[in-house]
Structure formats: structure tokens, C-alpha cells
């Protein structure tokens, strides 16, 4: 019984972390049809921003939830102005350029922080479920993911910016026709997407150690989750993260973490073969 609860929590945690690591990529992809392959490195930089800030004496929650998203968002802004801006509408070129950026940032982080694994302790103590101890931080991640989804949903539904964003997602020329400069919308979107990546990296940093190449572990998963999710931003994110997270954990508990990862990847291939438009291309059509 206790074990069932533990497994359930681990599953929720897996889903939540998939949502977190994919959110930034999903926003940028959903709004701009740009696949940011430097997404993983944005997360890595979020992690480093957190650790650096904590080492400078900043409260860990402030560092994770405010400083890291801001820092990475600003980096994203610079990247957008210098590189991405010139490549809109050229899907494959943006993929290649952001891939280059990802290598660049890995190199840069290596030169600045070195290649030694760094990390910080999780700020939340573990606690017991029956006879089992589990990592209390898992709950923090689950909560952050839920808040993130609710936040995104309410911004999209209830604010003016959200309205423009929804318009831009449906038809990119719509916002322009309404008198909003697409240039500024893209800038803002990329900032938000990068900030979300930074947040994810920051929140996950205490759990796993950080090296400049850490981002590589996330990008493939995020990429798969977003593409498999399909056109709807939030429904897609939620459904595909839910599907992959559960598949992953079932096989992880039944066999081993590696098989869990492989199961996730195989599920992705099968899913895309059956639903080439992603989950929400078939179901939940037209939802957010």
C-alpha cells in the first residue's frame, strides 16, 4: 500500500518534471514555430544562475523562482535579437542555429564554471509515507508544475497579452493585422520561453548535479514531449507529459531506469507514427 503511494508520487513527479522541462520549448514552438535546440542549455544556465546566486548568499527560493528566470530570460532576449530574429519562418535554419548556440553555451559555461559537477542541497527535507522515506522536493516540483500550468492558462485566457498570444498562435499574421508588431510579440515570447526554461533548470538543479553538458539530457525529452503534444499548448503539454511520464515510470519500476527511458522513446516513435499531428492534433482540437 505504502509502495503504491510512493510509486504514484514518483509518477506524478515524472509527469511534473516533463511539464517543467518542456514548458519553455512549448511556448516558443507554439507561438513562433521555432524549435529552440538550445533549450537544454537555457535550463543549464538557469541552474548555474541559481547556484551562483545561492553561493552569493541569496535565499534559494528567490534564486530559483525569480533570479534564474530573469537571468535566462534576458539571455534569451539577447539571443533572439542577435540570432533568431534573422531566421523567422526558416524552421530548419533556426533549429541548426540554436543547435550551434547550444554548443556555444556549453563551451562558454565550461570556460566559466569548469566541468566539475556542482550542486546545492534541496531546501525541503524528506518525509515518510508509511515505512517509506521520499524526497520532499518531489512535491515542490509537482506544485511548481501545477502552478505553472494554471498560471499559463489564466494568462492566456484572462489577459490582453494572452489574447494576442492566442491570436498569434492561430494565425501569425492576425496579430499584425490587429496592429501589434510581430517583432515585439516574438521578442516577448522568446523572453517568456527562455525564462520558463531558466525556471525549470533552476528548480531541477538541487535534485541533479549540474555540469555544462547537463542540458543535453533534457532537450531530447522536451523536444519529444512538445512535438508529441501537438498544436494545443497547454492540453498538448499536459497530455503528452502525462502519457510519457506514466509510461516511463511504469517501466522504471518494473524493470530499470534505462528501460524506462527506452520505453519513453519507443512510445514516442509509436505515438508519432500513429498520430503524426501529435496528441492534440487528433484530440482536444482547438483547445488551448
Amino acid at each position: 500500500m505504502d509502495l503504491t503511494v510512493v510509486i504514484l508520487v514518483e509518477m506524478l513527479y515524472a509527469v511534473a518534471s516533463l511539464i517543467l522541462i518542456s514548458a519553455g520549448l512549448a511556448v516558443v514552438f507554439g507561438m513562433m514555430k521555432v524549435i529552440n535546440l538550445a533549450h537544454g542549455e537555457f535550463m543549464m544556465m538557469g541552474g548555474y544562475a541559481t547556484i551562483t546566486a545561492v553561493n552569493l548568499g541569496v535565499n534559494i527560493f528567490v534564486a530559483m523562482l525569480i533570479i534564474a528566470p530573469l537571468v535566462v530570460g534576458l539571455i534569451g532576449l539577447v539571443v533572439e535579437r542577435l540570432v533568431i530574429r534573422h531566421l523567422y519562418g526558416r524552421l530548419v535554419d533556426t533549429m541548426l542555429a540554436t543547435w550551434g548556440l547550444s554548443l556555444f553555451f556549453i563551451g562558454l559555461a565550461t570556460m566559466i564554471f569548469g566541468n566539475t559537477t556542482t550542486g546545492i542541497s534541496t531546501p525541503i527535507p524528506g518525509f515518510a509515507i508509511g515505512n517509506y522515506q521520499i524526497n520532499g522536493y518531489n512535491f515542490f516540483i509537482i506544485v511548481v508544475a501545477i502552478l505553472l500550468l494554471i498560471g499559463m492558462l489564466s494568462i492566456l485566457k484572462a489577459t490582453r497579452a494572452g489574447l494576442i498570444a492566442r491570436g498569434a498562435m492561430q494565425r501569425s499574421d492576425m496579430a499584425a493585422a490587429l496592429g501589434y508588431s510581430p517583432d515585439r510579440i516574438y521578442m516577448a515570447t522568446f523572453f517568456c520561453g527562455s525564462a520558463l526554461s531558466g525556471l525549470a533548470g533552476a528548480v531541477l538543479a538541487p535534485l541533479v548535479g549540474l555540469v555544462p553538458t547537463s542540458g543535453g539530457a533534457y532537450i531530447a525529452k522536451a523536444f519529444i514531449t512538445v512535438i508529441a503534444g501537438g498544436p494545443s499548448l497547454i492540453a498538448g503539454l499536459f497530455s503528452s507529459a502525462g502519457f510519457f511520464g506514466v509510461v516511463n515510470q511504469i517501466f522504471t519500476f518494473a524493470i530499470s531506469p534505462v528501460i524506462g527511458e527506452v520505453a519513453l522513446l519507443v512510445a514516442a516513435v509509436v505515438l508519432l507514427r500513429l498520430l503524426p499531428q501529435g496528441i492534440t492534433g487528433k484530440f482536444f482540437k482547438g483547445k488551448l
Binding site: 517509506y132 521520499i134 535534485l207 531506469p257
Partner: protein, 406 residues
Amino acid sequence: MSLNRRKFFASTAALAGASMLPRAVMAADTIKLGSILDTSGIFDAYGKPMDMAARLAVDEINAAGGLLGKQVEVVAYDTQSDMALYSQYGQQLTRQDQVDVVHGGILSASREAIRQTMRKTRTPYFYNVLYEGGVCDRNIFINGVTPAQQVEALVPYAMGKSGKKVYILAADYNYGQITARWIQKFVADNGGETVGVDFFPLDVSDFGSTIAKIQSVGPDLVIAPLVGGAHLSFFRQWAAAGMKDRIPLASTTLGVGNEHKVLTPEEGNGIMVAYNYSQELDTPANNAFKEKWADAYGDSNLIHEIAVSNYQGVMTWAEAVRQAGSMDRDALIAALESGLSIDGPAGKITVDPKTHHAVLDVHIMEIEDQGMKVIETLPQRQPIDTQAVCDLSANPDDNTQYEIEI
């Protein structure tokens, strides 16, 4: 930016120019020591200090007048934590640079990638890293700690402090696979029981499900031969789940790359390990070594187990060259097989003629406040695991890595 780039191109051009010089120009008035280590990439926490140690040793040798009246020149390649580059640079060192000796290799995978090349080209090879044991090859000399020296000492101590049921979490490559089998053997020898073994590829960093699984089995002790930065998160997550005070941990690798300095005291304290070296060894030799290191590099904090092994390896080789009085490979091997020993920062190291492994001191330690506190010192342990299967004086042509069968 543009300045940097220009500088970079200039240096590239210079490099290209240098590598195009005919080899004859660089006359053989120096002795060439090839070094092949991951000084960048995910294993550079191991490789960088090893590289520093090798250079420190060579500087020391040169300052004392060199070897056979010649200066020693380091020819170093950075393998960038890419196993494929080992074979490439290994060939480069032996065929093109024609070095006199090669020190290097970190992961067992990298050693196996170059060992045959060294053997084929008859270049003496020193592998100065703690490893899984069993390599039997007349061309290679190994001064790292083997399971019989380390695990055999660590297991009974750790089981004595915890209990009989042991769970093993190992890195999924030859080191972890073989070491896990040694642990199982020694657990059984000490009347214990292995209740679970899990292997993790080097890029696994999420151990949540594993921690739950361990609890459902309920061992008394967890032994973790985990390797590299990603695996370090196990120790973090273990502590974060509040498991540290429930089930004690031991490791055969934690601290080899100074990982215990990355973990906080709360995460690291109490983990049991056993190595040849610790920065906390309070011996005159170690204190002098730390001072030398600090003089050269400003700070002695980076020194770790295999950096010291590398230093001792270079020193062992230098001593053998002096005794042999020539750079001839067979004379060198003969000198090494004479039971040669040196006194290094970690104490006395003697070459075992039968196996080309080392007889050395092993310290059982516990991690305490980001240091390794010595609990017990076991002097001059023999590599009996390899001795049981390898006898190079009887079979000089042997070229195998023996694996333990259980």
C-alpha cells in the same frame, strides 16, 4: 569578441605550423613522456588534476637534472571525455610522436581503447587509476587500487557498522560490472547477503525510483560504485529523501575525483570509503606534496586519489629509468620487475613483478565535513585478486583482462 577570435586563429595557425614541421627538427635530445587524459568534457574533474600532477612530477624530475642527462618533455593530448579520441591520440602518440612512455587513461573504457596500441608499438604504458583489477599484460604497469585492496577492506568494515544485507548500485560499464561482482564475493565471504544489484549508465541522474525500490527491499547497507557527475546526484537525492540516517552508505569511487568536496557535509558525512590517498593524511610526505602543489598551482584543494596515483606513476617510471640506465623498453621493464619501490605522498608503492600492479597502503575512511577522515590504515596490501589469475613471469605473453566469476 573579434580580438578573441583573432587570437584564436593566430594560435591555430601556429599550431598547424608546428605540426607540419618535419619530425627530424625536434631532435631526440629529450625524453618524451606521452600523457593522454580527459582534461575537458564530463570527466575533467578526474583528468585536470591528473594532468597537473603529471606536470608537477615532470617539473620536479627536470629540476633535479632530468633523466639520463636529458630533460623530460611532456606530449599531452586532451581526449575531451570522448572514448573514440583515445584510440586516435593513442596512435598519434606512439606512431607519430614516438614517445618513450605513455601515462594516462582514466576510465577503464579508455584504457582498453589504447592498451593494445601501446602493446603493438612496444611503448611502455602506465595506467595510474583505481580500477576493477585483472589486467594482465607485460607492457602495462598499474598502480591504482584494485578490489582486493579496497573492497576486501571496505566491505567488512562497512558491514560491521551496519548489517548483513547489502544493496549494490553500480555504474554500468566494465568497472562497475566487475567491481559489483567483487563486492558480492566479499559480502558473501563475510557472511552477508546481496539483496539487490542495479546498474546505471553514466548519464542517469534521476534516482527517485531507485531510492523507493531500495526501501522496498530494505537492506542494511548500500554500496555504490557510481562514477561521474551525473551519478553524484544519487548521494544528493539519497540525503534529500532523508535516507542517510536510515541506511548507511559506502562507496568505492566517491571522492576519487574529490566529489565529497561538492557534496555538502549533510549529504556526505558518514559515507564510508577506502583509498590509497586522502588529503587529510597527516604524513610528512603528504604535507610536503601539498605544499609543492600549492606552490605550483596556488591551492592544493584539487589533489585527489588518482592525481596522486598519476604523480606516483610518473615517479615510479622515472626511478625505473634511472635504475635501468637506458630508455630501452626491456631494460625498463626489467628494472620495474626488480621489485622497485618509491615513497610517494600516499606512502610506499612497490611494483609487484608478477602482475605489474602495485603493493600499497589502503586507508579506511569516512567522509567528514568535506574531508576524508582516516579510520584505519592497512599497510602494504597486495593485489591478490590479480595475483590469483596473472603471473607475467610465468606467462610473459599474456594479454587478457581476467574477470571474476561468481
